[in-house]
């Protein structure tokens, strides 16, 4: 399954690698490309990136484990990163977060039973001016209230 997806990505990978002076510089981009297609980084993806970048697979794995935006296990269809930074704490994120957890019936790092949502408590996501906030997929949702959270979740169902 993964193999077929990666074969499709080979064409694109060649273009990406050509953009950089050094092949190894394409590591992050290729990982993101593959993760977007598969949902998380599998050992096959690491081997595939290693093949394209000529970075030993153990060092690709170092990169994957270093950055928090690579998923090491399957995430939900919609991944939520909930900010637990200082400003959000001052803005009272705790109440909203526990509401969210209750609503999804999952804890930090878990995926909902239907596979639709996964939750990750994140350090500061750099949007302090509109705390409390969370990131749903690629989009920032700011000045959160419990009601707003409900609406957002409904929109992603």
């Amino acid at each position: 399954m993964n193999r077929a997806i990666l074969n499709q990505l080979d064409v694109e990978a060649e273009k990406v690698v050509a953009k950089y002076d050094q092949k190894k510089a394409a590591t992050l981009t290729l990982l993101h490309m593959a993760q977007d297609k598969v949902g998380y980084v599998t050992p096959e993806i690491e081997a595939w990136v290693s093949k394209w970048t000529e970075v030993p697979v153990v060092h690709v794995h170092e990169v994957v484990t270093f950055y928090s935006m690579y998923h090491k296990k399957p995430a939900g269809k919609t991944h939520i990163r909930f900010c637990t930074g200082t400003s959000c704490a001052l803005g009272g994120y705790e109440k909203i977060l526990s509401h969210l957890k209750k609503k999804l019936n999952i804890q930090n790092g878990e995926v909902t039973k239907d596979g639709k949502f996964s939750l990750e408590e994140a350090e500061c996501l750099c949007a302090c001016e509109c705390a409390p906030m969370m990131q749903v997929g690629d989009k920032y949702h700011m000045d959160l209230t419990e009601k707003k959270v409900d609406q957002i979740l409904d929109a992603h169902k």
Binding site: P43, P56, V57, V58, H59, H61, T65, F66
Partner: protein, 531 residues
């Protein structure tokens, strides 16, 4: 060249070297974890802090280049304080398990803690626990993640020396941990070296783990007899612990630095081959008469052999010398059998015994002294044992003296059986029991390379010394000693008492060894004069 001052001492060093290299040249102590002269500079452990005058802060010696006029302090209050602070951070998540850690006694963390430690740490936080403690990561090495200080020496060893890319540092911050790729194992021909270069107890050698505390070990310089490379090693043996592991004296081998031979490394094949020193040894001098075996004294045996050899027809006896023996011993064999007794059937090369080879250290010739044997015995290309064996099989030999070779391993059990039937007298000299020693009429117990002095010549003609680490097992006799005594009984007189004297005689006798002596050979060996 740059003129610099290290701790008040003025030195001139090569331009562009790092401060730590300059410090090592003047043999000043400076703590280090991640720096290793054989690996690239990582600069991540930060312990090698030195003060450089006119620089605002202390700098790390391993990643700062020397410059003209630099004044460096390694022991000043400022330098010491920096080292102390760094050590405190390195210990922040390190367990306090020295009493149960096998690295204790040769742990750099422990050593520097004694020198720079704060004793009362300012850290009150809970230590972050790593997941893996004492897990096997391959046939030779155990990993203990919480002891790791992430110096990355093993990572660089895998990337730069073996190119097997075994290790990585996964995760981030205080969750960072050392491991091999999930599902893989550390299994390369040089894996044992990572335990040597690990400055702490994170990677330990399975073979040595908990066998003995390192402060009970004695250490003697030697040369690995595992192949014709002749890697410089240290033989580490049980020194001062009576009643403990009585029959195992040699505990481990460690590589010894020699830039011309093995740099800092050795292969696993050589590293773990020391067991034959203490296991399955021939300990009794056995003589068989009319099918009855009995133990006899060396004096009696020597007289008996001398009697046999005196009456032997030179063409009806043969000697199988061996490249497992020292130059000195081969020289005595040559003088006795070739020059004095004028035997024509002399050989040393066992065919078909080659092993694996790579383009780093491992050579396919698994003998430490093939070059020396060829040079000293000077057999004009007739070194192969096979013609002698054929002669013996045809019943054309009366007597056969075998040094160390196991004929069953080389030629098969059938050949050994046939030779046993056809040859009247078989004398075996060697260290370990094998099928050939089992059928010999006389078995002479020799000593291993760890129990005698001598020299080996490696494949490049480098003559290197082996040294006595442990006393010979009672009843055994070094081959050179046996040959000196036997030569005396057969009318050859030497002024030699020790291998050193035999070597002097060899140097006079053989052009390749001219001008060489034990003093010149020293600790790092010397290439012979062969043109």
């Amino acid at each position: 060249m740059a003129n610099i001052t290290i701790d008040g001492k003025q030195v001139t060093v090569k331009d562009g070297i790092t401060i730590i290299e300059a410090i090592d040249q003047v043999k000043t102590e400076l703590p280090r974890y991640c720096y290793h002269p054989g690996l690239s500079i990582a600069g991540n452990c930060r312990i090698c802090q030195v003060e450089v005058e006119k620089m605002p802060r202390t700098v790390i010696a391993c990643n700062t280049r020397v410059a003209e006029g630099m004044v460096i302090h390694t022991q000043s209050a400022k330098a010491k304080e920096s080292q102390q602070v760094v050590l405190e951070f390195l210990l922040a998540n390190h367990p306090l398990d020295c009493p149960v850690c096998d690295q204790a006694g040769e742990c750099k963390l422990q050593d520097y803690y004694m020198d720079y430690g704060l004793y009362d740490s300012k850290f009150n936080e809970q230590k972050v626990k790593k997941t893996k403690k004492a897990v096997s990561i391959g046939p030779t090495i155990m990993l203990d993640q919480e002891r790791c200080i992430l110096c990355s020496r093993c990572v660089r060893f895998g990337d730069e020396i073996t190119k097997t890319h075994d290790f990585g540092i996964f995760n981030r911050g205080d969750h960072a941990e050392l491991n091999i790729y999930p599902g893989q194992e550390l299994n390369n021909k040089y894996s044992g070296n990572v335990a040597d270069i690990c400055p702490v107890g994170a990677l330990t050698d399975k073979d040595f783990r908990f066998k003995m505390r390192v402060w009970y070990l004695g250490s003697q310089e030697s040369v690995c007899p595992g192949c014709s490379r002749g890697c410089n090693i240290k033989v580490e043996y049980e020194k001062s612990r009576p009643y403990h592991l009585k029959n195992e004296r040699v505990m481990r081998l460690k590589p010894r630095e020699n830039m011309d031979v093995n740099k800092w490394w050795m292969c696993d094949e050589g590293r773990y081959a020391y067991k034959s020193i203490d296991q399955n040894r021939i300990q009794k001098l056995i003589s068989k008469e009319n099918g009855v075996s009995s133990e006899i004294s060396w004096q009696k045996a020597l007289e008996k052999i001398a009697g046999l050899l005196k009456n032997a027809k030179p063409s009806s006896w043969a000697v199988l010398a061996s490249p497992q023996y020292t130059n000195e011993e081969l020289h005595l064999k040559k003088k006795l059998f070739k020059d004095q007794l004028k035997w024509t059937h002399i050989a040393f090369y066992a065919p078909g015994q080659e092993g694996s080879e790579d383009n780093f250290l491992i050579k396919k010739d698994k003998n430490p002294n093939s070059a020396g044997a060829a040079q000293i015995l000077n057999l004009n290309g007739a070194a192969d044992m096979t013609p002698v064996i054929e002669k013996a099989k045809r019943g054309e030999l009366e007597g056969l003296i075998i040094f160390g070779h196991d004929l069953e391993k080389i030629y098969g059990a059938e050949t050994l059986k046939l030779i046993r039937q056809k040859v009247k007298t078989i004398i075996y000299e060697g260290t370990n029991n094998n099928p050939t020693s089992a059928v010999a009429d006389m078995v002479l117990p020799g000593v291993s390379y760890a129990e005698k002095e001598g020299t080996f010549t490696n494949f490049e003609g480098r003559v290197q010394r082996i040294r006595k680490a442990v006393e010979p097992i009672p009843g055994t006799l070094p081959t050179w000693d046996f040959l000196l005594n036997l030569s005396g009984l057969l009318g050859l007189s030497y002024k030699a008492l020790r291998p050193e004297h035999i070597f002097e005689d060899l140097a006079k006798d053989n052009q390749a060894f001219q001008d060489l002596n034990y003093k010149k050979i020293g600790h790092q060996g010397m290439v012979w004069n062969k043109k």
